[in-house]
Amino acid sequence: MKAERKVVILNRLGLHARPASRFAQTASNFQADVWVEKDGISVDGKSILEVLTVSCPTGSEIVIRAEGPDAQEAVEKLASLVASRFGEID
């Protein structure tokens, strides 16, 4: 199973520490491997450090990609997390 989705980071400070850690934490709950791709660079979505290093300011476009039994579910969950600004009011 493969799935992917293009999303836009809406948090004002971009994908900073807190959102990045929520992202990695959520991704880790799935069996599927998860990648975050930005400007052709792809990193492990389950690693908070790798997610931090792609440095996504607000408004940047990323692709969430997953491969594994629950890939579809993982991509949907993560995309909605991004869309909800990680539940932050910022």
Partner: protein
């Protein structure tokens, strides 16, 4: 005695004895290990990581209620600890390089450092500090040293001096035992500084070499307002700072108790006092300091941070949030007040020789209709969610307002046909900051529902002074008779046409000018939120009749020097001496 200056990280004054945290760097013992010892070394490493993880989890569960919201910092530390770049990588290195756990960690950390050093965003780069805290904890655990900050031996409150404090250490600090702290590393946005602010502990960070400049038990003063530290203060310094401490505490109390009193003079003249703001984070400060709404919401931020122009929906959700959180108070949203040169994207922009007189603010917006349209649509849509007002910057005459209103009318029709909610009766304001706008204020008043005087630009344009230019900045004089006349003229023209006139420049938040502005008959003052309590206090002690007599007197004077002397004299005789100082405001200005 020695006075040192660094970064003010958390406001307040602390006076007490030094508690020096011996910041011996944990020396990494590097050892090669035999192939048969690899499994045992891996196990030792795993155990150390587990213990640190347990410590962090325990700390999270013990956090006092008021700082519970910061548990996410510690949660992210756990994630870092278990991150494959730290955990898996170290285990891998133990096996492939046959090195001990400490060494493997250091090698892993070197790689992370290299990766992070190339990140442009300084906020994210600073998270390297957090990874360092976590890695050092594991290293210390492997070496068998205690990693938790131990304050149990302290019997009287102290000021902690350390090379660095981790967020976990800071969260351990109880207010009863720690008066303040000073560290060699750190910045205003490091997690430790953020925590100090929410704990209300005065702190100065980024002070080089402080751990070698003082000894445990010595007296030290931490001035978290100015970012100063006094090592071994003499009697006079102690007296001076205790006084400042008392004043600051009294000021804080007053903010809490009196900031919500109405801004009304002794003879019953009511003036609205509002806040200027730009970031959503400022909302709690705005409310806490007793603002009766936002008189100037700057909208440049979203345009300056992202490489692509913000979309209408992004703007709308940002505006809507501010409007909803400040409800029922009004929010005056100023449309984009910069030129193409300040935008993070490059949409147009020829190189301009004189940007201050160039294509910026309303001129830029009328030139870049697509951009302007998106912002106006977003503001109008936000107007369905609370009391929103529109403010247009740098208007120089009626023709610009005619264009703006035509565009606004078109957009309203558009929104209506799309079935989107908005307030058709939205109040429209003109920022008065170009001298010709003052001179034609009577004409402009018929085109708007209110005026807001932007003193910074008005003074700059009318005196032809660039404030940043050191050779002429001494001529920047808010009390120049010409400036006073312009303010008066704007107020009178507006009132004659039946519209309200406010002020949102720096001048509005300066105590010395408050009696003058009251005397001019302004309806609203909007300022940095931190200045509101003091301004309200001055207003509540003023007599508006007396202030307007002062203004008539000042308007008859012929130089800025003469006006200033008289204004100072008036202030001295009418208000208690402590109100002249604006020391406490300095900290807040850094927040922006």
């Amino acid at each position: 005695m020695e006075i040192l200056k660094a970064i003010a990280a958390s406001p307040g004054i602390a006076i007490g004895k030094v508690f020096l945290l011996n910041a011996k760097r944990i020396k990494t013992i590097k050892k090669k290990i035999a192939p048969e010892d690899v499994p045992r070394e891996k196990e030792r490493f795993e155990r150390a990581v587990c213990r640190i993880e347990d410590q962090l989890k325990q700390l999270i569960s013990e956090l006092p209620e008021e700082i519970k919201e910061h548990s996410n910092i510690l949660k992210s530390h756990i994630l870092m600890l278990r991150d494959k770049m730290v955990y898996d990588k170290s285990l891998h290195l133990i096996e492939t390089r046959q090195v001990n756990g400490e060494w493997a960690l250091e090698l892993a950390m070197d790689e992370i450092k290299a990766l992070f050093s190339s990140i442009k965003d300084s906020y994210i780069r600073e998270r390297l500090e957090d990874i360092g805290f976590v890695v050092n904890k594991v290293k210390a655990e492997l070496a068998g040293t205690e990693t938790r900050l131990d304050l149990s031996s302290i019997d009287e409150p102290v000021i902690i001096v350390a090379r660095n404090l981790s967020p976990a250490d800071t969260l351990h600090i109880s207010k009863e035992k720690v008066l303040g702290f000073v560290t060699e590393l750190g910045s205003r946005t490091s997690h430790t500084a953020i925590l100090a602010r929410s704990l209300g502990i005065p702190a100065v960070v980024g002070l080089d070499d402080i751990t070698s400049k003082c000894l445990s038990g010595e007296m030290i003063i931490v001035d978290g307002l100015l970012g100063q530290v006094v090592v071994e203060p003499d009697q006079e310094a102690l007296r001076e700072y205790s006084l400042k401490q008392e004043k600051y505490l009294a000021y804080r109390l007053e903010v809490i108790h009196n900031s919500n009193l109405p801004a009304e003079t002794t003879d019953g003249y009511r003036i609205k006092v509002k806040a200027n703001m730009e970031l959503v984070e400022e909302i709690p400060i705005v409310i806490q300091h007793g603002a009766e709404g936002v008189g100037l919401f700057r909208t440049e931020f979203l345009y300056m941070t992202s490489k692509t122009l913000p979309t209408e929906d992004q703007l709308f959700s940002a505006y809507r949030e501010v409007v909803e959180r400040l409800k029922p108070y009004p929010v005056t949203i100023r449309t984009l007040d910069i030129g193409g040169d300040k935008l993070a994207t490059t949409i147009c922009c020829e190189e301009e020789i004189n940007p201050a007189l160039g294509l910026r603010a309303i001129r830029f917006c009328l030139h870049e209709k697509g951009l302007f349209r998106a912002q106006l649509r977003a503001i109008l849509r936000a107007s369905a969610f609370g009391d929103v007002r529109l403010l247009f910057p740098m208007v120089s005459g009626k023709s610009e307002m005619v264009q703006v209103k035509r565009l606004l009318g078109q957009i309203m029709d558009e929104l209506e046909s799309e079935g989107k909610d908005f307030n058709r009766q939205i109040k429209i304001g003109i920022m008065i900051e170009v001298p010709t706008a003052v001179l034609t204020a009577d004409i402009l008043a018929r085109e708007a529902d209110f005026f807001s005087i932007g003193t910074n630009d008005l003074i700059q344009y009318s005196l032809a002074i660039d404030r940043v230019n050191e050779a002429v900045c001494h001529l920047y004089e808010p009390l120049h008779p010409g400036v006073l006349r312009m303010i008066k003229m704007t107020v009178d023209s507006g009132h004659r046409e039946g519209i309200e006139v406010g002020m949102c420049g720096e001048m509005a938040g300066e105590p010395l000018y408050v009696p003058i502005l009251l005397g001019m008959g302004l309806d609203e003052l909007s300022m940095n939120a931190m200045a509101i309590p003091k301004t309200k206090k001055i207003i509540r002690q003023s007599d508006q009749e007396e202030c307007s007599r002062l203004v008539s007197e000042l308007l008859g004077m012929d130089s800025a020097t003469q006006v200033k002397e008289r204004a100072i004299e008036f202030f001295r005789t009418h208000y208690p001496p402590d109100m002249e100082t604006t020391d406490f405001l300095e900290f807040g200005q850094g927040i922006r």
